[in-house]
Symmetry: C2
Subunit: 361 residues, 2 copies
């Protein structure tokens, strides 16, 4: 009985062996040539060309799963974040763009894990670390380390960690300095009563912004004590906090300037001011933080503190990749934060105080 030649089923994607068969060589040879391994030097140029040609004809694509299994590398990094409406959207997008860019540059895939809540989802985090990713970037994590024992075997990097995560290198910006500089700027314009609409309690970032604000006030003898009003991160929280304050205190005790924990809160704050007929910056100056997209879209555009979010995302990828490829470097507590500089951005929402203007006139 004659052997019936096996015909490659068209449904199946071509494999290394298929290419090898077509070129009359072993699968190994194909692998070596296609990967440009040093071992490919021992294959004659003609054979190499024949192999490439066969691969092209068959539209061969190396199978990612098989490769990952053999290499113990997925060429994929994970990004865990809470992606919700409002500010975090802009924040996420900017950092994420940087992550995607750097990933592409290093031929890595980026896979996104959307969490609802840091405190409640630690188990999910563990599930992600099953070999589908080589390392994980935590975007603005806010759980307590004692809640989540981070999975072993997986390198981590955090961006804007809002709680201390021992052993995880954190990428942050000089938020305290940003808050300090912005408050100094407001003081320099002549403002004295400066309110701070603050972020959620117990988070590192908002605390740093408060500290910068208070340090700046303390540096100015003529400034009255600080006025920190808790708000949150989102526009509605900024609006509600300001509304509430106005209702209790009336316009008479109005601050001359309001420095907000971020742009979203600044926008909500402006909304609340507008509701009672107060204009920005004529009646009150309002400053934000982040320089998110929102800062340029709102009217007036926001004076704010710019963080290089995109660059921070790129750096996160690069640091993570070195941790993946050189696990030795992860040496325990020597982890320092990487701190990016911030920069004041001047736009329409801040001007000299009305009183100062009058005095001058």
């Amino acid at each position: 009985m004659p052997k019936i030649p096996k015909i490659a089923k068209p449904a199946r994607a071509p494999t290394l062996a298929d290419v090898g068969r077509a070129a009359g060589v072993s699968a190994m040879a194909v692998s070596a040539v296609l990967n440009g391994a040093r071992t490919s030097s021992r294959i004659s140029p003609e054979t190499r060309e024949r192999i490439r040609e066969a691969a092209r004809k068959l539209a061969y694509r190396p199978n990612a799963a098989a490769r990952a299994l053999a290499n113990r590398r997925m060429q994929t990094i994970g990004v865990a974040a809470v992606i919700e409406g409002g500010e975090l959207n802009h924040y996420f997008l900017e950092v994420f763009n940087g992550i995607l860019e750097a990933s592409a540059r290093h031929d890595q895939n980026a896979i996104v894990f959307s969490l609802r809540d840091w405190a409640r989802d630690p188990e999910r985090l563990h599930r992600f670390c099953d070999g589908r990713i080589d390392g994980l970037i935590l975007l603005a994590p806010a759980f307590r380390e004692d809640h989540v024992a981070l999975p072993a075997h997986t390198p981590f990097v955090s961006v804007h960690a809002n709680v201390p995560l021992p052993g995880v290198l954190n990428i942050e910006s000089d938020e305290e300095r940003g808050a300090y500089e912005m408050t100094r700027r407001l003081l320099g314009l002549g403002h004295r009563r400066i309110m701070h609409l603050a972020g959620p309690d117990g988070l590192l970032g908002p605390a740093r912004r408060i500290r910068g604000y208070e340090r700046a006030l303390a540096s100015q003898r003529s400034a009255p004590p600080g006025l920190v009003v808790p708000a949150g991160f989102h526009p509605v929280e900024g609006r509600d906090a300001m509304r509430h304050w106005l209702r209790r205190n009336g316009k008479s005790r109005l601050p001359e300037a309001i420095f907000c924990v971020n742009d979203s809160v600044a926008i909500g704050c402006i909304e609340a001011l507008a509701e009672v007929g107060l204009r920005v910056p004529e009646d009150v100056s309002v400053a934000g933080f982040d320089d998110s997209l929102a800062a340029r879209i709102c009217v007036p555009q926001l004076t704010t503190v710019r963080q290089p979010l995109r660059a921070m995302g790129e750096r996160a990828v690069e640091i993570l990749l070195t941790r993946i490829t050189q696990p030795g470097t992860t040496a325990g507590s020597t982890d320092k934060s990487v701190v990016f500089p911030v920069e004041l951005v001047t736009r329409g929402s801040v001007s000299a105080p009305r009183a100062a203007t009058l005095e001058l006139g």
Copy 2:
């Protein structure tokens, strides 16, 4: 010489075999139990518990790559998009959120491929389809099908395809109707001279919006012919188009209302109007499209057409998954679009025209 017992190296993640060894059963038994396969019914409850316990103790996680190789399924879907500044950011985020949500619901990973340019990156698209994903969602693709022969062996779904892609099911919203309804609304308020700031040439979406606009004008006898001014998708394009028009035509020939191809363009348009002292909506009404985040952040908030972007993203995942699991269904050209309804959203940027108000007064 006594056999030295092998000690599991801590550096390596535990495998099925490790768990089996610890529980005194075969790797296969562990697999069956942990996967809840029907074959596990033949394993005694005690053994099962022992296996689970061992897995827990070792913190066993099935290796995703090995699983993918054996199953020929990565449990991962790809999302290809051009993610740039401005409008597409908001657009992307909304759809992407829906994609992430549906993915998580179906235990799928979502991996993002960020393209610079649809027309120039077709080769990259092919590279993605190497088994690392089971299917691909194209977000607002805008290449020509004759440029990219979409990779075989990979199921596709598109969202807001801006060019016809034969054989790819497209998820879209009833954009023409949205444009029609919005224009009708403006007419109903008494506006007659209504301008349309249009999107880029040659794309399906912008063309549909123009068609809806023109159809509405045609339905109203008293309306003058349409006034379509090309702009683009981004705020600066809206601003520049409007600036240019104002410079050429002056305020005298100003339209009473401007219907913009999207919210971003509307925001740019409002900016250009403000530059020459024209207020919205007192002097001109301005309407957008999309109901992006930007629409609620800008002042005045935008009257716009809402598309259920999030739901569209979720649907994309679901359709893609059926295509992945039931490849037969992909039967050629029977692919119909899935069209989501749109909805007018009324906010502050549109009012009755000043003239009408005067006439009434």
